[in-house]
Every structure is written in C-alpha cells, then in structure tokens.
C-alpha cells in the first residue's frame, strides 16, 4: 500500500455537551476513492472540517501529504466541496470562479482561462457573465464543483457530493469522480447512502457517533463482515451434493430446496473449494453464485438498527440520485 495522503491520528473534537469525533484514526492512501460513511450526525462533516483546518481538533493530529498540519497549509493541493454549498449570489459566474481560484493561489490569468475551459466543458459558457443568483440550483452546483477543481488539486474532498443533485447531475458527478481517480487523484467523500459508496469506493471507513466501526478496502470489509453466502442451482442431478453441504468445515448453514440451495459459508471457508467439491461430487450445476452481503447490510449490522434507520431513509432527493 502506498503512503497515505490523509492521516488522522486519534483525533477528537468535542462541542458543548457532546463528543462529535472520538479518537478517530484513519489513513487515506493516494489515488483511491475513499468513502467516509456514517449515519447522520456521525461526525463526518466535523472530521472533514478538521482535515480542512476549518476547525481545530481538541486532541490528536491531522497529517496531509506526508506532513503534519491540516488543510490550509496545503490548500492549493486540495479541492473542497462543503456540504453546505454557497457562492456569492450577486457576483458574476466567471468572477466568482477566478476569485476562488485566486485564493487557492492560482495566478489570475491562469484562473481565468481554466474557468472558461471548465464552464465550456460543463455547458455553462453562455452563463459566465450572469450573476450567480440568476442560475438554477443545478447550475450553481456545477459552478461550485468547478471552483473545487479549478486549481487541479491532488486531493479532492467532497462532503455529501450527491445530496441535492438530480439524476443527470449525479451521473456527471460520478463520472467526474471516476475520471479523477483515473488521473491519479485521490478522492475522499462522505455519504450516508451506501449504494453509492458500494459502487464507487475502493476504501472506506464507517463511523457512528464519532467512532470508527470499521475501515479498510471494500473487498476486505465484505469478506470479514457479514459472512459469505453461496447460491447453488442444480441442473437435474444433485449428485452427492448433500455430503458437501453436510461438511461443517465448509458450510455453516444450508437452506436446501432440492434443485436450489442457499449456503452460508463456515468461517474461513473458501467458496472455490465448495465449487470444486460439488463438481467432484457429480452434481450438474446450473448456477453457482457468490452472494456478497451488501454494504448496506454490513452497515446496518454494524451501526445498529436505530442509527441505520436514519441511514436507509435518506432525504428523498438523495434517494433518487
């Protein structure tokens, strides 16, 4: 694994009365899409704000790009899209973009030409001299997204990037995120919608009530959490499949329908071995499918039904996205 780009080391943040983030440690490797997952109020935004140096942690340390110190020192290399979007409503689109790039340290002329390029790419060229408040919500979101990308950051931090996006723009956002990773950029994004995280993330960290529940590569998490299921379908002859199913070293539980069976694998068992044994037993298979538990199920198991309720009932707009 390459050197982590973002490191949180036992970071804690307390607000009057409650601990928003509790001794959270995590490492984001470079050139991956990293998901910070958790129910509402889990501490995702607070964690991101600490990474960005918008608020200071009470305890623990933040490191970026292999150095100590949080976001502002590296702001020219980070693109940040906060959860609560906002632009100067009365400024012209192009001026806002140039200004926001300038405060990231991009020279004015370069900022201007890049802004024009991006506006063109996202179909907003005709709007560049309009005031921000004349634009639709969706267009404003695009403008804000452009402002995140103008200085060509190595690390892009997106707080709930899909919230409030219509399906078309959510698709654009998803494509852009994937394109960024293809170009070797690192993306850290937070979400409470597991379906998106499952499709996009290479690595992830699930937090609830400010604490880390699990982190690591998506595939590892799936392997170690929630167990594996296999669905087997027979084409006429089940052969000696029953013997295979009865091996408690391989199969923990079986739900046999004769022509069809659902197996829950024993801890540490390898589905490939079962497949071999079944073929060896003379069974004719029409189907052998590894059923991974969905991230959603893992999440619910980990976070608990109470917190999960908030997570599986995201706001209507986000659900459509």
């Amino acid at each position: 694994m390459n050197r982590p780009l973002v490191v949180l080391d036992r970071v804690t943040k307390r607000f009057a009365g409650h601990t928003a983030v509790d001794a959270l440690s995590l490492a984001v490797p470079s050139a991956v899409i990293f998901g910070l997952l958790g129910p509402n109020g889990a501490g995702k935004t607070t964690s991101i704000r600490m990474i960005m140096d918008i608020i200071a942690p009470d305890e623990g340390e933040v490191g970026l790009f292999g150095e100590r110190g949080a976001g502002r020192d590296h702001s020219s290399r980070i693109g940040y899209l906060p959860e609560e979007r906002g632009l100067y409503p009365r400024m012209r689109v192009l001026d806002v973009l140039v200004f926001l790039a300038e405060v990231k340290g991009v020279p004015r002329r370069a900022a201007r030409s890049r802004a024009l390029e991006w506006l063109d790419r996202l179909g907003l060229s005709d709007w560049r001299q309009r005031r921000v408040n004349e634009l639709s919500k969706g267009m404003q979101q695009k403008v804000q997204f452009i402002s995140t990308m103008l200085h060509d950051p190595d690390l892009v931090i997106l707080d709930e990037p899909f919230s409030g996006l219509d399906p078309v723009n959510a698709q654009v956002m998803k494509d852009t995120v994937l394109d960024l990773r293809r170009r070797g950029k690192t993306i850290l994004f937070s979400t409470h919608i597991m379906e998106q995280a499952e499709k996009l993330c290479d690595e992830l960290c699930i937090i609830a009530r400010g604490r880390k529940l699990v982190d690591g590569a998506l595939s590892d998490i799936k392997r170690t959490h929630g167990g594996h299921h296999v669905v087997v379908g027979f084409d006429g002859s089940a052969g000696a499949a029953q013997q295979v199913f009865a091996d408690r070293g391989l199969v923990k539980k079986v739900d046999d329908y004769g022509q069809y069976a659902e197996l829950e694998l024993a801890p540490g068992a390898d589905a490939q071995q079962i497949l071999q044994r079944l073929v060896g037993s003379g069974a004719r298979l029409s189907r052998f499918e590894l059923m991974e538990p969905s991230l959603n199920k893992i999440f619910i198991d980990l976070v608990g039904p109470e917190a999960a309720r908030a997570a599986v009932q995201p706001d209507a707009e986000a659900a459509r996205a």
Partner: protein, 420 residues
C-alpha cells in the same frame, strides 16, 4: 499576501461596480452644490415682496421709508397710500388675492414710541422682518435726532455700520480664514466622517454577513486564514472609501472654481450675497489629518462591525446587534459637535484622545481650534494603538463567529472566544 490581494480586489471591484457607489459619488457633488448655491439662489430669486405703505405720518418719514425699502433687494413698494377708514381692510383683501404680499402701517407713533405694523401673508421670514426693523429703526432714529436739532450730516456719520472681520490665527500666523469658515469646515468634516464611518462600517458588516449566510465562508476559510480574509475585506472597503473621497474632493474643487459662473448663470446675484456661506479653505495638512483619522476610525469601527456580523446569522440580527457600535459613533459625532464652540475644553480634549471618539473629534478640533502637530500626533498614536487592540479582539471573535450558526453568543462566550 497574494490571497489577501485577491480579497481586496474582489471587495473593491464588486463595490465600485454597484450602482449605489455611483449614486453616492454623484450625491456628494449635488450636496455640495446645494450647500454652496442654495443660499445664493434663495436670497435672489422669489424673495422680492410687493408691499404697500400706509402712510399716516404727518412728516416725510413715510415717504423716506417707502423709498428706502424700494431700493432694497427684498421689497418692491407698489405704492404709498394715506391712511383712511377701510384702507387696511381693502389692502388685506388685496393680500388675500395675492395682488400684493403685505402692507406696512406707519404713523407718528414710529418716532414717538417706536411702533409700526407689518401685515403680510408671510411674516416668518427672519430676513424680511429683520430688514424692516432695521430700516424703520434707523430712519426713526434719524428723524428723532434731526427733530432735536442735530446736523443731518452728523447723524449720517454716527450711523456708519460696523463691519467686524474675523480672521483665524493658526500657528501664530493670521490666516485668511474667518470664524465662519473654520466653523463650517469643522462641521462638514465631522458630518462627512460620521456618515462615512457608518456607511463603510455597515458595508463591511454586510460583506461578512453575506459570506456567512451564503455559506461561502467555509470554502474561504479552508484557503485563507480568517485574519487574511478580514484584512482583505477592510483594505478593500477602505480603498472604496478613499476613491469615494477622491471623487467628492475633485468634484467639490471643480464646483468651487466654477461657482461664480454657475451663480451668474442661475440668475445672477450680487457677489456680496455670496458671502452668506463662507467657503472654507482646505489646506493640505487638513486633508491629511482628515484622511489619517478617517482611516484610523474606519479600521477601528469596521473591525467592530465585522466582529458583530460574525456573531450573527442573519442581516436582521446584525442590524439589531450593531447598535452599541453605532451609538459609539454617534457619541463621537454629537460630543464633537457639542464641544465645537469650545475646542479647548476638557471634554473636547478627552474626546480627541479616546480612540473611539478621536476619529471625529480630532479633525473637528483641528479645523475649529488650533491643535499643534504634537496634539494631532498624540491623538493619532492613541488611535492607532486602540485600533490595533480592537482589531486583534475583533479578529478573534470573527475567527470563531464566522463558522457558527444558530444562537448568538453571550458575553461570557465572547470572552472565551477572545481568549481561546
């Protein structure tokens, strides 16, 4: 530094592009023109009163009064009629239908007991009544003296008016500045300082609130330190105010230089009347004092306005919370105004040393009295020290406040923010 510069540029460009900036820029000269020209126009146009003199005197005094009034700029004597039954009633009707503006009833009582009567549709014009009183008084006086056998030439000499020239002494040298001029200079400097401090302070406040309510603040503070942002904002709005002053100064100067031409074109007045308002002379030193104290006051008050705005979540909230700051500026203005007549009093000296009041008090005292350079420097040094301290406190409140939403902090929390 380049980041601060970007903030300065944004604040400046966005403001100068606004219509309200140019409205203000134009209103200034219009305001000046009104001040310079209105007294002239008012004293020339429209002011001539048509008058009938009802002469019941047994001497030539009535005729003398009528002639003297008619030669004045303010009255046109339509006629002189002898007194008789019903004359006054019919003249009152004439006033009613606006054929004449009023009539003056004279009798021998004028010389005997100094009594006369003026009836008109408008008797509230101090200048009209003053002129009448003076004319009647002088002529009655002369009539009495002459009746007592005093030589008319002697009377004429005795009645020569006094014209009191007032010249201000600055730094031991007599200047061409009159008392009226230094008062009006002090007054206008105070007024402009008061309005500008409020105006630009409130602009800084609006700018902070806008960034807070639009949530763009979060992106900004992830790239800039809050202090850099605050500094850029103050410098940007400050630059706008200097440009505004430059426009006002240049247009004021232009208006003054063209004043005579303007007046003559607008109805041609007696140049003497022009002295109703005395145009102050603004020296380079005065301009320097004005700008220095404006900038000091601007940074002091704008930093406070920014801190207030940072603790508020909406514009309405900010408008209520700014009251203590606004009251401070008002104290500075009215305190300076009250001590203008006596610029050496202890209160005046105190006001010009306290940083919250000195931005208005010291320039006013400079214009009205004669502060030495040392006085001004002491006052300015205190102002700068106060500004640095207040800005430091304000920046600490600002830093925490801009990211807070919801409930406004109480005093205890504010103290914690400053200490943190």
């Amino acid at each position: 530094m380049r980041k601060v510069w970007a903030v300065v540029r944004r604040e400046f460009v966005e403001r100068v592009r606004k219509k309200s900036f140019w409205v203000m820029a134009l209103l200034g000269p219009v305001f000046f023109a009104a001040i310079f020209l209105l007294p002239l126009l008012m004293s020339t146009g429209g002011g001539v009163k048509r008058l009938v003199v009802v002469d019941r005197t047994t001497t030539t005094l009535g005729a003398l009064v009528a002639a003297r009034l008619d030669s004045s700029q303010r009255f046109f004597v339509v006629g002189r009629v002898p007194g008789g039954p019903g004359v006054e009633d019919s003249l009152a009707r004439e006033v009613g239908v606006k054929r004449i503006d009023g009539f003056l009833v004279l009798s021998d009582a004028l010389t005997a007991s100094g009594h006369a009567e003026y009836r008109a549709s408008n008797v509230s014009s101090l200048e009209d009544v003053g002129l009448l009183r003076e004319t009647l008084g002088r002529l009655a006086e002369r009539a009495r003296l002459e009746r007592a056998g005093v030589d008319p030439a002697m009377v004429a000499r005795a009645q020569i008016r006094v014209s009191l020239d007032t010249k201000k002494i600055t730094g031991g040298r007599t200047t061409e500045e009159s008392a009226g001029q230094s008062f009006s200079l002090a007054y206008f400097m105070m007024l402009i300082l008061y309005i500008s401090l409020l105006l630009y302070g409130v602009q800084v406040m609006g700018s902070v609130i806008e960034e807070k309510t639009s949530r763009i603040i979060e992106v900004l503070v992830s790239s800039l330190r809050p202090f850099q942002l605050l500094l850029g904002k103050l410098l940007g709005v400050g630059a706008v105010s200097l440009v505004q002053f430059a426009i006002w100064g240049a247009s004021g100067r232009l208006l003054l230089s063209q004043r005579a031409a303007l007046v003559s074109r607008m109805g041609g007045a007696d140049p003497e009347v022009g002295q109703v308002f005395q145009v102050p002379h603004v020296s380079g030193a005065t301009a320097l004092v004005f700008i220095a104290f404006f900038l000091g006051g601007f940074f002091l008050y704008s930093a406070m306005f920014a801190a207030v705005a940072a603790t508020c979540s909406t514009e309405q909230e900010a408008r209520q919370s700014q009251v203590p700051v606004t009251v401070l500026i008002m104290i500075a203005f009215f305190g300076s105004f009250a001590t203008l007549a006596n610029p050496e009093s202890r209160l005046a000296v105190t006001l010009s040393l306290v940083p919250f009041t000195s931005p208005i008090a010291t320039p006013a005292r400079w214009a009205a009295g004669n502060l030495t350079a040392l006085d001004v420097i002491a006052s300015l040094a205190l102002l700068i020290a106060g500004t640095v301290l207040v800005t430091w406190i304000a920046a600490r409140i600002y830093r925490v406040g801009i990211l807070m939403t919801g409930k406004r902090p109480n005093l205890k929390e504010l103290v914690r923010w400053v200490r943190a």
